[in-house]
Symmetry: C2
Subunit: 278 residues, 2 copies
């Protein structure tokens, strides 16, 4: 999906909601337990209930890997079921030396390899340029690079003050954002910025005025959609705000899909309001 | 496997060789193509040919993921086949927020989850403490944290000068090594240091006098076993030096296992010499 297509979808749906498919077999409503593939049955119902309200879906790969080969089959079925107009994100936090990153890229981008054809993958920056560029070699595919994450541990290294060529010290996450922009432009590169880091969002938007930002941490992790939107929205939209648990597990009963829709609808309505102001 | 057991194995086998199972279906000898699981058949032959010369095996998870569910089955079979006295490393470079790292830990450490029971997993440090500690909650299991990797991109962020509390600037990888030692001791924590970074190995050994170091980059990537050994060996051994392609693909014919053994034997003989001097 291109930058323009993603932007158009945002204004058509009046939404920049990404639904995180962190599907935990132990949390799925009990009545789905007899389905052949309960994880897929759950995801299908969630997608059916939210596809007109969400612009993106983000399966969290750990949840599928933790089920072994069966989990990868659930992931394949889920990805194939997501409507073509929605942007898809493999939240995998991969990154390795070049020949290995090549294979991770093939895994998530080449349907002939692992049966997956995601639009994008989240990548960890620690190993630098040659760990990231193999993902960029796939035309029309995106890298979503970790910059400033939503968890407490983001303070351990991401906020460390680093010497820069201009002699001013800058936090590591700013160096990551600046450096990565020399590897790819905003047509292929997004950054992960946690919603719990709204204070820094303004500064990050200055550093990356055109890049989409993937913002997890609204909902269960406590980030504010209002703060994120005020600081992050651009004329092209420029945001994908993810909610996972608050939507998926809004109910553990047979009404889970309806309740998921209601949660997504509330977020979309709020987003429509913010989009109307830009 | 405990620190003591790993150390004893090193002196018993006179080896600190780790064989990297970066098994590429397109590179395995053609005569294996008719096997039901060619990747496993290849790995089994490599393991049979090297198990008395190697103390550890390190499947590179990307190579298995890139085959989809079938690849995970090859990985399960391979791991089950590795002799119990050998240390096993899931080279996965994972790391995410706590509840997700929990699932990655379960994937690689809990056989009830994905059918895998590795001794250790490689972890990327960028997301900080709560992305790493879930792996440490498994008693007897290890985190092998990326510190200074073997690739060119290691210069992009790992070598950046960072302010520290002592006011002296230090490269980021040193901060990672110091900080991570407040999370776990050398019974559960190793560091990845590329063999191409031998100049820094002495300094890293000062910072982490007891931790095992996993050293990739000997062989195809050009690192020197002599340099690594001189700077990295300790009284407990303290090193796992990985070779992958130089062993696996020593021959593409029916003699591949014999040629792999000869490569491993050459490394083990050299290692025995270095071990005799400590």
């Amino acid at each position: 999906m291109t930058y323009k297509e993603l932007s158009e979808q945002i204004f058509r749906k009046k939404s920049y909601l990404c639904v995180g498919l962190d599907t935990d077999p132990h949390k799925i409503p009990p009545h789905l337990a007899n389905e052949k593939d309960p994880v897929f049955a759950f995801n299908r119902a969630i997608i059916d209930a939210t596809a007109d309200l969400a612009v993106a879906y983000k399966p969290n790969i750990a949840f599928y890997e933790a089920q072994g080969p069966r989990g990868w089959e659930s992931l394949q079925r889920t990805l194939a079921y997501i409507p073509a107009d929605c942007f898809t994100i493999a939240d995998a936090k991969r990154g390795d030396i070049g020949n290995t990153s090549n294979l991770y890229a093939r895994t998530f981008f080449d349907p002939e390899a692992a049966g997956l054809n995601f639009d994008s993958v989240t990548v960890a920056p620690y190993m630098g340029r040659d760990s990231v560029t193999p993902f960029l070699e796939y035309e029309g595919k995106w890298v979503i690079l970790l910059a400033l994450t939503s968890n407490l541990g983001s303070a351990d290294f991401q906020r460390r003050r680093v010497s820069s060529e201009s002699s001013d010290e800058q936090p590591l996450f700013e160096i990551v954002i600046k450096t990565a922009q020399t590897w790819a432009n905003s047509e292929q590169l997004m950054f992960v910025v946690g919603a719990t880091q709204a204070d820094e969002l303004g500064r990050i938007r200055e550093l990356a005025p055109d890049n989409f930002l993937l913002v997890p941490g609204v909902g269960a992790q406590g980030g504010s959609l209002a703060d994120v939107s005020r600081r992050g929205l651009t004329a092209a939209g420029g945001l994908l705000v993810n909610a996972s648990r608050s939507i998926l597990y809004a109910s553990s009963g047979t009404d889970f899909a309806d309740r998921a829709r209601a949660e997504a609808q509330a977020l979309q309505t709020e987003m429509a309001g913010y989009l109307a102001t830009i």
